[in-house]
Symmetry: C2
Subunit: 451 residues, 2 copies
């Protein structure tokens, strides 16, 4: 019995030692007891030379599986002799393989492809042609399709012979002679059926399918909604060309969630993890939004200089500027995160705009009233006169309400315009609220003080 | 062929009409063509009375599946007569059922339980006892376990008879007489094996398992890492007591990602979606952090009043306060999001602290220099004298560097202290930077102006 993860990395020093001492027994013992995902973790912790040495000790099938579990399989492929690489690539599952080939240098792929068997080569060419982010780019072509007239026992015989080349044999698809999808059934249905029945009698003709150019996030949501192990993917002519499996969905969701999280903090989405992203690329991804926000924020200087005369007579007003604008920004960033997140998991949509804005206005007034009272207390404690304290309280109420309206309104507007609501990042909301908040503050001040 | 989602909600008005006119044919047509997940969507769009009427027209098996796909099955259970509810509850999958029972009123459960068959009742009592967030709370007890001495063909016969009561028959577990897990195999292995072989010869003895009290997020990560359909769950005595399946993982990841997103925006995690959370509960979830941040931000007033004499002589310094502190806050919120997100998906950990802080210091200096120059330009454009422009530039450089260090350092410190790094929300980082940033600004100003 093993706990995942815990053991694996503890083994690395021992494996290093075993590689140095050529302790074949120890290495084979490790290899045959560990899951390919753990072997991939170990490979990633080894140095370049050790990595190839260890990989070459794996039995052929483990080589293929381990390659599929590596985060950057292309790196390892480039370290290995080409004649060793060919059989591995030919046996990899078609979606992992296509992903890997996309990150290999072009010249390398050109020298590699002619050596790969025709069938696999065509499969590779077809899959790498789909744009990133589509169903086509994450699907595998190794699905199981069977003709409708087959009897259950014949189907089981076919499955036995086809199983080794199929990513999953738990779902199978019934297609006609042109490749159009007619129904689906599961290995469970097959095992439970009378061996004499024909597939067309037991298949479910209500197949839920998606298309090669559909967004990968939509495909992931469908698999999640229906609890599928796999969903069939059709081409423009409605012919079955692949399936997306449940494990791909987890990867898609992780990538999409990370992208959303980054956008919400005004970072342009990264393709790799933080540590793998080169320094200057990370600078570019961050500086773009940071400068844009900075330029937007410059309007606060204009606003403040416009009210210079008020400031000069009541310098005490300055003390509450950061307090007021941050309260509005924080309340707004809460709203935008709540709305954007629920939009991205499909819990709320444009149709709910009225309810959302009504709810957030009330929310803003309640929270604004509370913070306003705290602000009043703070101003009085600091010894400011009652008029200024009143200005602070009124402004906080208004600015917090403004904040939640900006925070909830902008995602709705962006969605309406067909833009990604996640662009309504917390810093974006804060910038808008900072500028407008300052104007509100001094307008209230002028009104109360009568200047 | 159907696109998921698109059709479903368009059917609602027709279904309403059919219910009013008692158009049995139309309803049965809809029911037999739609997936239970879509029927659940339709039920959720109907009014109370229509909902029970439509549900009662479903055939028994569809009733069970649809109930499992509802977001709030407890609501529907309460609308139905108890004698109708009993057989549905008895047939629901054990994890969905336990979840549902936890949200039913206590008195209702007490009157319900005695009417449920002993075996199912014991299963319910066992599962609802596990605390929220543990593997035990999301596992199902409907797994397939077989003795090691069974031959493959005998196993297939057993599976045929057991399949209807099992959540998945694609993975099966070999246990000894005390319930200890000895190995696992898949239906694929079984279908490919020689019918005469015994399970012990073909099973994989290297089982990866987790425990009932393990965190659900760790279970989800393991299933994701190993691409499993299900992972076995053991009790304290290392006996097999359940499995967690791939579809539960998607739900867990969605909940955990939403929680993280909310924390990053300083909202205490919600249990339900935004629209389902009652107004005053939402107020409480938001006001807690908002007030805390507000109180923290009050130190900006103290800092500013401390430097009142500088302000009085150089009122122009006020114009740049929001610009400076927002630049630091934004840069810091980028850092904290990058670090927290990569920590939560396991890409970086405490061991990387030195690299992270070194990288972020460099990042802060580069971005600070760039924004500093923009700030200098802005100050000169506004017609301030060169000394003030210089102060603005220097301060922005320092505050941006401070921001990224706060943004990246705090998640590391929180992780080290055993706290959740996601508490380092953008607003939290901004508050710290606001207070310290103001102090830095006036210290630089005093030094440059010599006052």
């Amino acid at each position: 019995m093993k706990e995942p993860n815990a053991l694996t990395l503890l083994l690395v020093p021992d494996i290093r030692l075993a590689l140095q001492n050529d302790d074949e027994d120890f290495i084979q013992d490790v290899v045959c007891h560990l899951h390919a995902a753990d072997l991939a973790d170990i490979l990633e912790s080894l140095e370049e030379g050790e990595r190839t040495a260890f990989f070459q000790k794996l039995p052929p099938q483990k080589k293929v599986e381990t390659m599929e579990h590596l985060e950057e399989p292309a790196e390892l492929i480039l370290l290995l002799p080409q004649e060793e690489v060919i059989p591995i690539i030919e046996s990899m599952s078609s979606d992992d393989r296509a992903d890997m080939i996309k990150s290999l240098p072009e010249e390398f792929v050109e020298s590699l492809l002619p050596k790969i068997s025709l069938q696999e080569r065509n499969d590779i060419k077809k899959l790498i042609a789909y744009p990133e982010g589509t169903a086509g780019a994450i699907m595998t072509t190794e699905y199981l399709s069977l003709p409708a007239h087959l009897r259950v026992e014949e189907a089981l015989v076919q499955i036995r012979s086809l199983a080794p080349q199929r990513e999953t044999i738990y779902y199978m698809y019934v297609v006609d002679s042109e490749g159009h999808l007619k129904g689906h059934l599961s290995l469970r249905d097959l095992v439970l059926a009378d061996p004499e029945q024909r597939l067309q009698e037991i298949m479910n003709p209500n197949v839920i399918a998606m298309h090669v150019f559909d967004d990968q996030e939509k495909v992931a949501q469908a698999i999640q909604k229906y609890d599928f192990l796999a969903i069939p993917i059709l081409d423009r002519q409605e012919r079955l060309v692949g399936i997306v499996t449940h494990d791909d969905v987890l990867d898609v969701l992780e990538v999409e969630n990370t992208e959303d999280a980054h956008k919400m903090a005004a970072v342009s989405p990264l393709e790799d993890a933080y540590m793998e992203t080169p320094f200057w690329l990370l600078v570019r991804k961050r500086v773009f939004w940071l400068s844009l926000l900075f330029i937007g924020e410059m309007f606060t200087s204009s606003a403040l200089s416009h009210f210079e005369h008020v400031l000069e007579s009541y310098i005490v007003l300055v003390f509450f500027i950061p307090l007021i604008i941050s309260a509005g920004g924080n309340a707004g960033s809460q709203s935008s995160t709540l709305i954007v997140r629920d939009m991205s998991v499909g819990e709320i949509g444009l149709r709910d705009w009225f309810v959302i804005l009504l709810r957030e206005s009330k929310m803003g007034m309640v929270m604004g009233a509370l913070l306003g009272i705290l602000g009043l207390g703070r101003a009085l404690l600091l010894g400011t006169d009652a008029k200024v304290a009143l200005i602070v309280m009124l402004t906080i109420m208004l600015v917090v309400t403004l904040g939640v309206l900006v925070g909830s309104g902008f995602p709705l507007i962006f969605r309406k315009l067909g833009l990604d609501p996640a662009v309504t990042s917390s810093p974006f909301v804060a910038s808008v609220v900072d500028v407008v908040g300052i104007v509100i503050y001094f307008l209230v001040a002028r009104a109360v003080l009568g200047i």
